[in-house]
Symmetry: C2
Subunit: 145 residues, 2 copies
Amino acid sequence: MNDYEIEFKNYLKERGLKFTPERALILKAVFSLHKHFDIDQLWEKLHKKDNRLSRATIYRTLPLLLDCNLIQETLRCQGRVRYEHIFGHQHHDHMVCLKCGKVTEFREEKIEKLQEEVCKRYNFKSVEHRLGIRGYCQKCQKKLR
Amino acid sequence: MNDYEIEFKNYLKERGLKFTPERALILKAVFSLHKHFDIDQLWEKLHKKDNRLSRATIYRTLPLLLDCNLIQETLRCQGRVRYEHIFGHQHHDHMVCLKCGKVTEFREEKIEKLQEEVCKRYNFKSVEHRLGIRGYCQKCQKKLR
DNA sequence: TCGTAATTGAGATACAGTCTCAATTATACC
DNA sequence: GGTATAATTGAGACTGTATCTCAATTACGA
């Protein structure tokens, strides 16, 4: 059994919730997809495996996965929410290309530290933060010229 | 006439668009509201002044104001998009309290510079960036205890 | 194995945001 | 000032995403 499956089972058990085949399927799909995904991609993948699985079940399961920190929202782009599985990954920030949609991850330790400093300065207790840079990736810059 | 009105008029003129009373009203409301606002607050304010003004017109005007940099989106919180007027203001980032919704602005020059460095490193041409920190403000931290 | 409360699928519903279209109007040009 | 014309408007229809309802099903503790 995968670590993330154990994690999810524990999370459910603690709350008296059930580990159903549908939830197992969704969990598996989330971690087998490309790291960044949106609901449509997830639904398409799941629909192939079990065409009875309902959209509602996906929408009901995602908040659970968010709540136990197996996944997180990344950027919203063109009205779409994008997710990524983060279990076992370190926090990082994102750059998104406005043309091709490519997502690049980066981590800059100094920025992380400076944010902590800012929070201290304002007596703000940080829970999470998101830094998203929108612009054009190397390839698309060339095309634009 | 206000500076932002001149700005908007020029923007419209350049594109062969019209400066209508409805647009004037929306512009005025945007700058008379608390700096951070959402569509509902804007609609409520406008509805009081002219109850014939349509929601569609607001939705049609906001992209124009965004495009000419008079306003910008800030954070999305609980599915809501929030805007702020930025004309004449310097770029800054946000902290949002998850309990009371209070928005605190901050600017940290070092973070701004580090972001530029990151973009250079990845050959990414930045257009805009958003840094949002979610957590609890000083007051709400006390209440939680 | 059984009882019970959680979960499911399907479709209804809610809601924000967009689109359509006929009527109106701002603006450039005379 | 008058006129032509293309942009704009309001109202309501529509779209698409996400949520809710409810009867039927099912996981899981005892």
